[in-house]
């Protein structure tokens, strides 16, 4: 029987949720506010009222062309997500519907690769990229981001697929569906919310990835993370310019996240409440 929740509890819970949401969002908000300050204001101390100057945006745009790294970010994040899904959907299907006694171990092993600090494999990866001629190429960095996010994508899809009754797939098989038809015509439509949220999350992860994108690119394939990094200065004030660059870099993904929040939340909580 569902427990009754009083209005007072609801109000308290809502306020608490808004408070937590505000705390999480505050660093982003402050970055946006700082981007509208002058450099002197930016370093003067905590202040929520900027002078609303666009000087930093103008300087950022005059120093670098925003469009090129923006397009690289779009290509790299969407490309790596599509590649990851192509590999991950069959892998997750196999583990969800035809598990072996080693499936759990394989899943754990995949996840464990995320636990290793990236810097530990920087040199080997750099040498491989050098020998394959992939340094500063969009193909190289797209494949790299696909590989580093693949464990999470497989895990998420595996979790969603496990929620789909196996009997439906068996019924499809009895109706004469082949493996590909089963995945494409039966499984995929049912798992669309899960696949969509996995896709969105992977795009966000790839968009924000800063370690490999800065280290494996120079000019041709450099995305927005490299663009931001260019505005930190060892000698001279740079906080307002850095904030303006950060705001420009996060704006597209923030807008995308805002419009797709319903799908994102539905996907992330899929199967969490029965």
């Amino acid at each position: 029987m569902a427990r009754k929740i009083s209005n007072r509890h609801k109000t308290v819970a809502t306020i608490a949720a808004w408070l937590v949401a505000f705390l999480i969002f505050f660093p982003i908000l402050y970055t946006i506010i700082t981007s509208f300050k002058s450099e002197t204001e930016a370093i003067a101390g905590f202040n929520l009222i900027p002078s609303w100057t666009l000087e930093s945006y103008s300087e950022v745009q005059s120093q670098y062309n925003y469009f090129k790294p923006f397009m690289n970010s779009v290509i790299i994040s969407i490309g790596s997500t599509i590649l990851a899904l192509i590999v991950a959907v069959p892998a997750a299907w196999a583990m969800a519907f035809t598990p072996t006694k080693r499936t759990k171990d394989v899943l754990m092993w995949m996840l464990s690769t995320k636990m290793m600090p990236a810097v530990a494999v920087l040199f080997p990866i750099y040498l491989i990229f050098r020998d394959l001629g992939l340094l500063d190429s969009r193909v190289g960095i797209t494949v790299m981001l696909m590989l580093i996010n693949l464990p999470i994508v497989i895990w998420m899809l595996y979790t969603y697929f496990r929620e789909i009754p196996v009997e439906i797939l068996e019924a499809a098989r009895m109706d004469g569906a082949g493996l590909w038809q089963e995945i494409w015509h039966v499984l995929t439509p049912m798992a669309v919310p899960g696949i969509a949220s996995t896709m969105l999350l992977n795009i966000i992860l790839a968009w924000n990835e800063a370690f490999w994108t800065i280290r494996l690119t120079t000019t041709n394939a450099a995305p927005l993370t490299a663009f931001i990094s260019a505005f930190s200065s060892p000698q001279g004030l740079f906080w307002a310019k850095l904030s303006a660059a950060s705001t420009l870099a996060i704006a597209p993904i923030l807008i995308m996240g805002w419009f797709s929040q319903r799908q994102l939340v539905r996907g992330l909580t899929f199967g969490a409440v029965k």
């Binding site: 370093i43 340094l135 280290r215 120079t218 060892p234 001279g236 004030l237």
Partner: protein, 446 residues
């Protein structure tokens, strides 16, 4: 009618000429060699990028690609690339710390083809010395700096003192305490406290030189257990506790710059390049009240100033060495200084690299701190940085590969001592242990 015919003929000829020129330009661009330049984000470097059209106009067969990165990321990226011969960069911006180490590893090309007009002899000797190995120049300085005292003339006067051109640490201590006015949020002195080999350790190592301390003796034995280091660190911590700003252990160059510009520091000892920031009325509230003096000494013959130059070097793995040398020559030659002066004024010329700049009356007029900067640079000797002999090169650093890690570890200990998290004695003892362990692992000592 005839006029129209001639006009049409003329237009056809012009169109033909224009088409020919465009085709030639496209052809030359198609054949153009593109060099990639890795650099840091500071005013002088950004200005160079804006003026780079001058280079590409003079060298239409060379195109430029710029990669601007945060200092530490740049250092890590170029180190990875050069060590693996990745070939991502044709010109690298590196400092006086990297040059001797990388040149010895044969990672850099000697700059022996900078052109007949390139005046190597005009490079300030102290800077050229820091960028040369066995008499060969391995990097050309783009801008150089030392460190000196920037002080508020009005506050000094209010304290009833006169800043000498060459102060002692005793005078600096006395002035800092007298200038401190906590009620009005004025700190007598602002010094670096943020941990890092290029942050607090740049300042403290330079300061320790004037106290007669050294990182290692001639046998590479660490020297943090010697009285000179104790004297240095005790003086620094006590001075900062008495007259420094709150939370000084988090302050680096930029934080102190902001404090000074807002009128919250009586004195600031830091990079000479800061003079152009604190004297700029657009950003600084105290622009017309700043005086300059040499870094302090203790009467031992060495001053507490450092020597640094952001320089352009060419990695040995580049396939475009000739184009890269042409670019380095353009960016670091005397003619570049004239170009900057003609476009942006003498005050914006990159300082600290060429003797002739400091003999230029127009520059002296535009930069009142010019003489003090040159005197500071000239008084630093990377080969004899401190009072006693040392086996290493470098004024505010030790030019060995292990220094980046060790310097940062020691910097964290000294920053903790400043924050009151540990005593000076404990910080020095742990620094000695860390240095001994590092030098043993590196095979310098048994």
């Amino acid at each position: 009618m005839l006029a129209i015919l001639f006009w049409e003929e003329d237009m056809r000829f012009k169109t033909f000429l224009l088409g020919g020129c465009s085709a030639l330009m496209l052809a030359s661009m198609a054949n153009a060699e593109t060099i990639t330049i890795a650099t840091v984000n500071n005013g002088d470097m950004i200005r160079m990028q804006k003026l780079a059209d001058d280079f590409t106009t003079k060298n239409p067969d060379i195109q430029l690609n710029w990669v601007t990165l945060e200092e530490n990321v740049l250092r890590e990226r170029v180190t990875t690339d050069i060590a693996t011969k990745g070939g991502q960069y044709d010109v690298m911006t590196i400092g006086t710390y990297e040059v001797p180490i990388w040149a010895k590893q044969q990672w850099l090309l000697p700059l022996d083809n900078l052109g007949a007009d390139y005046d190597v002899a005009d490079i300030i000797p102290a800077i050229a010395g820091g960028l040369s190995v066995d008499g060969k120049l391995y990097a050309a300085p783009f801008y150089g700096e030392s460190s000196f005292v920037m002080y508020r003339k009005d506050l000094m006067e209010k304290a009833g003192l006169t800043m000498p051109d060459a102060p002692t640490w005793e005078f600096i201590g006395e002035a800092a305490r007298k200038m401190t006015d906590r009620a009005n949020d004025i700190n007598g002195i602002c010094l670096r406290g943020k941990a890092g080999w290029g942050e607090n350790m740049a300042f403290l190592t330079a300061m320790s030189n004037s106290f007669g301390a050294r990182w290692f003796d001639e046998e590479w034995k660490p020297q943090f257990d010697q009285p000179e280091w104790k004297n240095t660190l005790e003086t620094y911590v006590k001075l900062m506790n008495d007259a420094g700003p709150q939370g000084a252990s988090s302050n680096g160059f930029n934080e102190n710059l902001a404090l000074f510009q807002q009128g919250k520091c009586g004195m600031w000892i830091d990079a000479t390049v800061a003079a152009s920031f604190v004297s700029n009325p657009k950003d600084s509230t105290v622009a017309d009240k700043v005086g300059y003096a040499l870094a302090p000494d203790n009467g031992l013959g060495k001053r507490g100033n450092w020597l640094w130059a952001w320089s352009l070097a060419i990695p040995a793995g580049t396939q475009k060495a000739d184009a890269a040398q042409k670019f380095v020559s353009w960016a670091t030659d005397k003619a570049y200084l004239d170009l900057v002066a003609s476009k942006e004024g003498w005050a914006n010329v990159p300082p600290g690299t060429r003797t002739s700049l400091y003999e230029n009356a127009e520059y002296q007029k535009a930069a009142p701190f010019a003489k003090m900067t040159l005197d500071s640079i000239n008084s630093a000797d990377p080969t004899k940085p401190t009072v006693k002999p040392v086996p290493y090169v470098g004024v505010q650093f030790v030019a060995i590969p292990e220094f980046q890690g060790l310097g940062t570890t020691v910097g964290q200990l000294f920053s903790a001592a400043l924050a009151g998290q540990m005593s000076v004695d404990d910080a020095l003892k742990q620094a000695q242990d860390a240095a001994t362990s590092t030098m043993q692992e590196g095979g310098y000592i048994q």
